[in-house]
Amino acid sequence: VSNPIGRRRFLQLGGTAAASAVLLACTKDDPSREVAPGPSTTTTLPALPADPVDRVKTDLAVTLTLASLEVLAADTYSKLAASGLVTDVTLATTLALFARHHRDHLTALNLAIADADGAPVDQPNSTFDQTVVQPAVAAATTQGDVIAIALTLEGTLAQTYVYGVNAATTPARRSQLLSVAGVETRHRAVVANQLRPNDLGYLLPSAFAPDDNPLPPDALVVP
């Protein structure tokens, strides 16, 4: 039996809305304060639905949500590139590379969504966009602000993928999500390492990546 409340509850379990909190903590003077959520404090796995049918639907909901975040990331980098705020050529090249990766991830996710008889995603995650990204882009006036936004996007994506691995229903799906989680984490590390080169306390605050839900409430895309 389908249980949308249960699925929504699953994605919110352990969620801290950390992404919006950390973006608000950003300052123009110190973009490095804008960091991905810290190490997970979760000690038990989220309560996945017991019903196998609901588990498959949860897997699909997480995949749809990730796809919507990939659209958002690629679109946001395009907007930032056009904003005139990015003056450093290396940073511009880096963000263009990230945008290409995000489009590749979206393509792979949409193939998985099609396999699950879902509709391909081509719209950004509206909740995360409206509550986190749009306000930050509107307020951005410096290249440091752009870096702060990139850190938030990449940190949130990386953590949501790790979270999604635990919700996936097959080894193939889990390995697909993990293979992207690693690349999103590399994105975050690249940007963070430009801000604070080799500052391990900042770059790697823990030996383990956080795996709780970093998204604001209602960011879940329900099929």
């Binding site: 796995l45 990766h101 991830h105 293979s179 690349v183 984490t185 590390a189 383990f208 990546a209």
Partner: protein, 174 residues
């Protein structure tokens, strides 16, 4: 009789533990080559790899630590010996972190135990970050920090190709 490749999630977790400990042991051997700047960074990576092995041991209920993978250490010996200065040692660390990431992604193609899955999912991103930080020390261009493009590799082999991970069939736990 030759050791068998892993047939259960616990066996696979033991293999990954043995690889983590082998990489930590390799870094111990490389440590004299690093100067003041890189030494604490690589040392921290080594601590992480031991922590990863301990985490996997914990979730599988292992009471005895898995030893560093002896076959892998033997295979790595020529690469370690070929590192004669800091840049060459860092290039090896960069390759090993990428290969470790691929090994974890490969393991995820077979794992089903929720606790082991969760452990591996929180470990791989750290190896990926290690690779980026090491690449930064080497001055590697941004595109080259993603040796497999938009996705982490999930291919394993005997490890001769630095873009693939370490196969449990090539390096069974003894």
């Amino acid at each position: 009789m030759a050791p068998a490749p892993p047939s259960t999630d616990t066996d696979l977790a033991a293999f990954v533990q043995s690889v983590e400990r082998a990489i930590a042991a390799a870094y111990d051997r490389l440590m004299p080559l690093f100067a003041e700047h890189a030494q604490p960074i690589v040392a921290e990576f080594g601590f992480h790899h031991v922590a990863h092995a301990e985490s996997l041991a914990h979730v599988t209920g292992a009471t005895v630590p898995v030893a560093p993978n002896a076959a892998l250490l033997t295979a790595l010996a020529p690469r370690i010996d070929a590192a004669v200065d800091e840049p060459s040692a860092l290039r090896l660390v960069f390759a090993l972190e990428n290969q470790l990431a691929a090994t974890h992604t490969f393991s995820m193609t077979m794992l089903d135990d929720a606790q082991i899955v969760r452990a591996v999912a929180t470990i791989l991103p750290i190896e990926s970050s290690h690779a980026v930080i090491t690449g930064g020390l080497l001055g590697v261009g941004v595109a080259d920090l993603f040796p497999n493009g938009s996705f982490e590799s999930l291919l394993v082999s005997d490890g001769a190709n630095p873009r693939t991970g370490f196969s449990p069939f090539s390096y069974p736990v003894s």
